[in-house]
Amino acid sequence: MKVENLLNEIREANLSYLILAQNMLRADRAEALVRLGLSEEVARIIDQLTAGQLLKIAASNMLMCRFRFDDSLVWNLLLSHTRGAENAQAAGMHAAILMTGNAIEAVV
């Protein structure tokens, strides 16, 4: 991928991510904070961004979102290499518990 294309894609990803975050925060703040793993302070800033400000921030060369679950166990559970529906469900629950536990750390 050419650098120019890459930067364009980063901008697009940033913009959709910021708009999604803003919509989530406006629809249900409490749930959005947990789903996004965001602090109240940053949430307040994102909530109040104007369209112009959103575009400006999205145009950064850095991605504004990042991988939240830096634990290979979570990824393996989500891929669930296990056999049988029951095991897959258990793996799904296990991943959910790890991810929601992680949400607490991110918020504090």
Binding site: V34, E86, A90, I97, L98, T100
Partner: protein, 192 residues
């Protein structure tokens, strides 16, 4: 308990009560969390559900939360509850409703039965408040799980890292799997 002295206050209480009823809460939960009279709650319950609320006492044991499947469902709920509680300044009962809705989303996506009812979820929150139950980190995976407060949790390993051999093989699950197989075979028969 907050007293509903104004009309708006009462409207809010009714909205809260009806949210809880829609989630399937028992009457005792409503009585404890709203300031509406028992008669009004009964009426509201009948209007929403279309029948009288079930009678009898609420389940009061902490042991239910320790059995394999309930423990996993309760742990997911309590993780959601705690992260919602820390990040927002909602009343506790509002947090219960939010956390329970999010719990239901997870369970629905995994096509699992709702093992934890909203009444149990509320009860669990109360047990945490009273210090009878708490959560601890599994030494293998690091996830938070519901445990008795005075249990020795030195080398705690959760029920998902150390699965009992018969775990999850409940009668309800077998019946569901059987029903799925039935459906598939009829679909095949119809397609054929």
């Amino acid at each position: 308990m907050k007293k509903a002295k104004t009309v708006l206050g009462e409207a809010r209480q009714i909205a809260l009560a009806s949210d809880l009823i829609h989630l399937g809460a028992r009457l005792q939960v409503l009585e404890s969390e709203t300031s509406l009279s028992r008669e009004r709650l009964l009426k509201l319950y009948k209007e929403i559900v279309g029948k009288s609320p079930p009678k009898g006492m609420l389940p009061f044991s902490t042991d239910w939360f320790m059995t394999w499947q309930p423990n996993i469902h309760s742990s997911l709920y309590i993780n959601l509850f705690q992260s919602l509680n820390r990040s927002s300044e909602l009343d506790e009962i509002e947090v219960v409703i939010h956390a329970y809705r999010m719990y239901r989303e997870y369970v629905a996506r995994l096509k699992m039965p709702e093992v934890l009812s909203v009444t149990r979820a509320w009860r669990l929150t109360r047990f945490f408040d009273a210090g009878m139950l708490t959560s601890t980190a599994c030494t293998e995976c690091g996830g938070n799980f519901v445990v008795h407060t005075y249990e020795l949790t030195g080398g705690y390993v959760c029920g998902l890292c150390d699965m009992p051999s018969r775990a999850g093989k409940t009668r309800a699950n077998r019946m569901a799997a059987y029903a799925d197989a039935e459906n598939e075979s009829t679909e095949v028969a119809l397609a054929g």
